[in-house]
Symmetry: C2
Subunit: 413 residues, 2 copies
């Protein structure tokens, strides 16, 4: 039996235990996990230091090292996150729909765990604890495959989680970590039909494409965010400048950052100089020919429209009207987050109806598409597919349902 | 551009038209489609006769020919089905969840169409009309790929649907039919990344496996039903006999028919002779060694437990208790429909909680797992996967959602 299959079978063995666990059982266990992470602070920070030394040897960029780094304050954040998930309402065995057929059969649609969830993720070791707490609270077993660059940190965190579970009546086997970073185990996980109910890849294009090409198990596509902000002719231009600056620069390397601004031609002459003034020292700007007639920026090509920069770069294009903006977004967008800055009711209605994305904003920054911001506690990622879940994936997105049908000797006529 | 890709691009072109269509627009169009099917009655029945002549030449079984056949009464049923879908509540742009963040941002989770749905199906030409009406009512374009044995019937039905749409303000392109029955077009559809939002295969194991092996687009696994009924020691045995006979014999070739009966050892001696009396002339029975000590039936092997007979055959096994029944079902079941016959509260609670299936029955036949029976109007199939939709796939399962976030110049801190 292969290495990954063996771990998946261990998760299968604890599925019923998780189904039987009450909300109280789970919350007590999460508190034990939080306490254990705190107790093991020394060894976790130590392990993280090893990863950072290795990162230096591999000439990792500062941005990536920052994502990898755990200090006391970040560990406090991880621990607080687990306690926050414990406080969220239990998502299991709830029903928003019970109805009775004419023949007297009563049907209830009840939320139940998916079973086993897999996550494949890069760099950030806090994902290890976040993903565990969300999966566990929603009654799912979890198998994790982190990146080799964070291997020591991840192993230390998983060890602490298991130690915490060891002090409860819940089996330590509900979390399985793939310590062997050989890439073949990613494929094994993606092909483990019948043994894993959902695999969430959280990473760059390479990982997402691997999943699309090879997965034989259900997956949830996440993270690619080529997000736009459209400035309508009726928009409040002061707000528009603030929002674009926020959406691009508050953090540049994230999926909900703005990558292209679309500007209505009627206000381009007034708006672009204002925006330019605020952005020019912060990011590199790529504009269409028409933009370059107003402000002094690099020339954008079609490739810019299709690029998720994830960097201090932004593209700008002038459009005739809201229809052209919608057309551009539906052509180049990745169904992540899109925003319109407008005071015009009809244009807002059109934009929110016709733009095909997980989250459509009116007069707000795209940066709010996030499990914590939405009030979901934490997230497993941002879904950019339409099946099952769209946008931030929190507890409610990690469950499925079953119908319970109560009869009294009912047979079908 | 390939044949299927071309059809998918035509569907992309009408996506916005479908988003803009009001419930009234769609219902008027469905009525026109119903009228057109009635008006084209002659040509549809004629085309079906051609398929039946071809079926005779190919020595098709009577059961399959019956599935293929359309007469006046069945066509009336198809037309009535379309009118029933028109009467269902429109599933688009509804919200059961709006909330406001501390910062004042208001978020609404709104139901929206998936976009383009594909269906690959066998034999029954009524699926052509059912699938169109459900997809259309939920605001989706649809591409259909029926079996070659029903090709003339399907073409005639699609022609009538398009003729009906021709009398409305909705484009005829919202329905696309793959007339060329070359199997390569199935693969083209399954690999059309980004052009189809969901493909539903509705057919036998061969089709389902092809989808699992080759699909690069989101799919919904349907139809495999190895369903069980467990007779608890506390069950009402008269009801139990009635229910098993109904679940096996009311229709044998359907996915929600019962394939294996599990009998508590404490009541096996009393129950099996009663059941045997009612079933022995109707179906072939395969029993475990222990069953054969009580009634005279064929010996069942492990293969019987794993087989969806879809035929006048049933398997029987004696189990120690509800735990063994649950274990057997979770090992051999296909997450379709499972039933317990019991008066014991604790056993019922355990069974409904721990059996992993789309629909779990108490004291009722498994035959009710069906879109019409559930009150969904019609169905695209019965999902046996956990992602997105479980059980009967009706209007509500053919939509996705998006978040609309209303701000007033909000930026992220």
């Amino acid at each position: 039996m292969s290495y990954v299959i063996d771990k998946l079978r261990q998760l299968k063995n604890v599925e019923q235990e998780l189904l039987k666990a009450s909300a109280e059982d789970k919350n007590i266990a999460l508190e034990q996990v939080a306490l254990s992470l705190d107790r093991n602070r020394g060894s976790i920070l130590e392990a993280n230091k090893e990863d950072l030394i290795q990162a230096d040897k591999n000439h990792m960029t500062d941005a990536l090292k920052d994502r990898l780094m755990i200090d006391d304050s970040r560990l406090d954040g991880i621990i607080a996150g687990i306690r926050q998930v414990a406080k969220l309402q239990d998502p299991i065995w709830e029903s928003d729909k019970t109805w009775t057929l004419e023949n007297g059969l009563t049907i209830s649609k009840i939320s139940v765990p998916m079973g086993t969830i897999g996550i494949i993720y890069e760099s950030r070791p806090n994902v290890t604890a976040d993903a565990f707490s969300l999966a566990f609270k929603s009654g799912n077993g979890i198998i994790l495959r982190g990146s080799s660059s964070a291997i020591n940190s991840n192993i230390a965190i998983v060890k602490a989680i298991k130690e915490g579970l060891g002090k409860t009546n819940i089996s330590q086997e509900v979390i399985q970590f793939i310590e062997d970073t050989d890439r073949k185990h990613v494929s094994e996980l993606l092909e483990a039909k019948g043994l894993v109910d959902l695999v969430i890849p959280r990473g760059g294009k390479g990982l997402i494409n691997l999943v699309l090409e090879t997965a034989k198990v259900p997956t949830l596509q996440t993270g690619e965010g080529n997000c736009h902000i459209y400035i309508d002719e009726s928009g409040n231009l002061e707000d528009a400048v603030k929002i674009v600056v926020n959406a691009k620069t508050q953090r540049t390397g994230v999926c909900n950052a703005c990558e292209t601004v679309l500007i209505n031609e009627k206000i381009a002459g007034e708006f672009l100089p204002k925006l330019y003034k605020e952005l020019k020292d912060k990011v590199e700007i790529f504009g269409s020919e028409e933009v370059r007639e107003i402000i002094d920026v690099n020339l954008a090509t079609d490739e810019d429209w299709a690029t998720e920069y994830l960097d201090s770069k932004i593209a700008m294009k002038i459009v005739k009207n809201v229809d052209e903006a919608i057309e551009h977004i539906n052509k180049y967008g990745t169904m992540h987050s899109e925003s319109i800055i407008s005071e015009n009711y009809s244009n807002i209605k059109k934009f929110t109806k016709l733009v095909d994305a997980s989250t459509v904003y009116v007069n707000a920054s795209t940066r709010f598409t996030d499990g914590s911001e939405f009030g979901f506690g934490a997230e497993m990622g941002i879904s950019t597919q339409k099946l099952h879940a769209r946008g931030p994936v929190g507890l409610e997105q990690l469950v499925t349902y079953k119908y319970i049908v109560l009869g009294e000797g009912h047979i079908r006529k």
